[in-house]
Amino acid sequence: MSTLAVQPEPPSPDITADYVTRVQIDRSCRQTVLGYYASAVAWLLIGSLAALITSIKMHHPEFLGNYEWITFGRIRPVHLNTVVYGWSSMVGIGTTLWLEARLCKVRLPYRTLLPATVIIWNAGVLWGVYEVLAGHSTGVEWLEFPPQVLGIFGFVLLILFWVSLKMFNERHVHHTYVSQWYLFGSVVWFPILYSAAILLPTTGIVGGAAWATTNWWYAHNVLGLYVTPMGLATIYYLIPKVTGKPIYSYHLSLLGFWTNALFYSWIGTHHLVGGPLPAWVITLGIVGSIMMFVPVTTVAINHHMTMVGKFHMLKTSPTLRFIVFGAVSYTAVSYQGSLEALRSVSHVAHFTHYTVAHAHLGMYSFYTMTMFGAMYYIVPRLTRNEWSSAPLIKVHFWTTALGVLAYFCALSWAGWYEGEMMNNPLIPFIKIVDYTKPYLVARSISGSFMTIGHIAFAILVFRILRGSDFSMIGPTLFTTKRGTLRRREKTA
């Protein structure tokens, strides 16, 4: 595929009409989706900074140790909440809206209200971060923001549900595509999850040990019923789009979708294996986790069979390379998660850095990398500009890909041995701490690489949004040579 391929033949009228529709849809999404994307990238940078401070504090506890508002126990939840509710949610919502509009072939409705939701959501994250830094965390993992933030996020989530429903009902294509099911799933599931996880405990309906099961029912479903559907919808849409090959099997995608919905929602209690709960609650979590082999294998086969014959495109297409990295990580992290839930594995891995490594394989290696891929595809279509530098995209890919792999390996290794040592009562606790220190340093280094990648990405996003002078003659590929990006003629 030549980088400068301008349509070689005059297009047929049908293709032209299709093209015009797509341009109109993209234009309708422009303000809202770019608003969500720009905010997401800003939160990604803030989240990375919080992550680095947290990570350094783990091996040098005196680092910035005299400032109470960034003590370890506050900056750590700030990292988690900014990357979950800032980066992951906002990039996910932006992608969801664009995919839904494209798949329903309708223009995005409510073009004044939806850009306003960008500001509202940002205000919610900002407020939550402020409260955690000020020491007013709720103390519930993944839900540290004050419960009142539900009013803000809930309002936006309801609008998103309504917009999704409206587009779905007014769609111009009769059949539905697998991505639509996943996206619709996430916009229906997440508001229910989020409000239940906040309202049931704060109103006193749920308390004590049941608060713990509610907590992990929520936290793991953020992954299973919110983030994963958005990630898989993106992969399902973009692999066929970029490769030009239809998805391998409709029936497999149907099976994958419903088994994911049915099993994933049960697995949260595997975070409490060995904990003070009746065995049946834990067993449910373990059974659900093992059953996850079904949807994961189905999705993996479907993605792989679609990619077969097109792997050479990974050399050229940034979108595809990020997306396939994400898809492979999805399979890896899900299989690992299923095994990790087993009592024999949890016996060692629970309470250690092994779990932290696993979480990053999911939220970062799968979801975040997938969303990077989505933005590489979508943003040029919304801005009518091209990415300004192929080398910067390369920097972004390699620093984040190698960074997260190094991160994963270092912490998995350290975590496993940490667990083995913890189960041996003859080893003093401080010896275990000493053992993990070099790996914690390795985490800071690999995290720095990922942050460098995020900065490179932010520069690219900033330039393309500012309306850089690069026109859309062809997509910027990894193989795009310097100087082949055409500078747009000044029309003024």
């Binding site: 140790g65 709720t138 103390g139 713990a212 907590n215 919905a261 009562p425």
Partner: protein, 204 residues
């Protein structure tokens, strides 16, 4: 799956099903749990009150839960009991007054379910919180200088203070370490973490 309402019904069924199983049914099961009263008329667990409750808020606010769990696993699952973190495994009844739960998922530091029984010295707790290196060299726990004041030994002994040796004092002179109200509350809370009372179901 071309009609939105039937599709939504399917989505609601899957999540409702799991909410029933992992939220409501456990809650119904645990709601019936009552504290047990020992022969001295003391009920276990005891609802936290006063400074213990305030200290619990400091524990949350400083994010202690990210590195310390509050749950002891049974003797056949991990080495918790052999390490002396408790005399029996924790059970759901231990948490009936916990709002929110602070079970934790990470043991960067040791479990604290019974820290009040394991380390009953307030002086140790204050020094450890002020700078963990004093009591536990090599620890990666943060120092909580901001929960303390340091006073020179020239004046009278401040109430509630402990001795801070010269080598650990920022002034390099023998000093008094004065815990703020929040540090006192936090240590009150840590002291209250003692689940060594017996519960029948912990033996099952």
């Amino acid at each position: 799956m071309n009609r939105s309402w039937s599709f939504i019904a399917g989505l609601l069924a899957t999540i409702g099903f799991s909410m029933m199983g992992l939220v409501f049914i456990p809650n119904w099961q645990f709601e019936e749990l009552k504290p047990v009263v020992d022969q001295n008329g003391v009920s276990h667990p005891t609802p936290p009150a006063g400074s213990v409750l305030l200290g619990r808020e400091v524990y949350i606010s400083e994010g202690c839960l990210y590195c310390h769990s509050q749950q002891v696993r049974s003797a056949d699952f991990g080495a918790d009991i052999q390490r002396g973190w408790g005399t029996r495994r924790s059970v759901a009844r231990d948490y009936i007054f916990d709002r929110p739960h602070l079970m934790g998922t990470m043991r960067t530091g040791p479990d604290l379910e019974n820290i009040g029984a394991r380390q009953p010295s307030r002086q140790w707790q204050y020094l450890h919180l002020y700078n963990p290196q004093i009591t536990s060299p090599g620890s990666i726990m943060p120092q909580f200088h901001f929960l303390f004041k340091v006073a020179d030994k020239s004046g009278p002994v401040p109430a509630g203070s402990v001795d801070l040796p010269a080598r650990d004092s920022p002034t390099n002179r023998d000093s008094y370490l004065i815990p703020t109200g929040r540090a006192q509350d936090l240590v009150d809370y840590l002291m209250s973490l003692n689940h060594s009372y017996d519960l029948p179901e912990a033996h099952q």
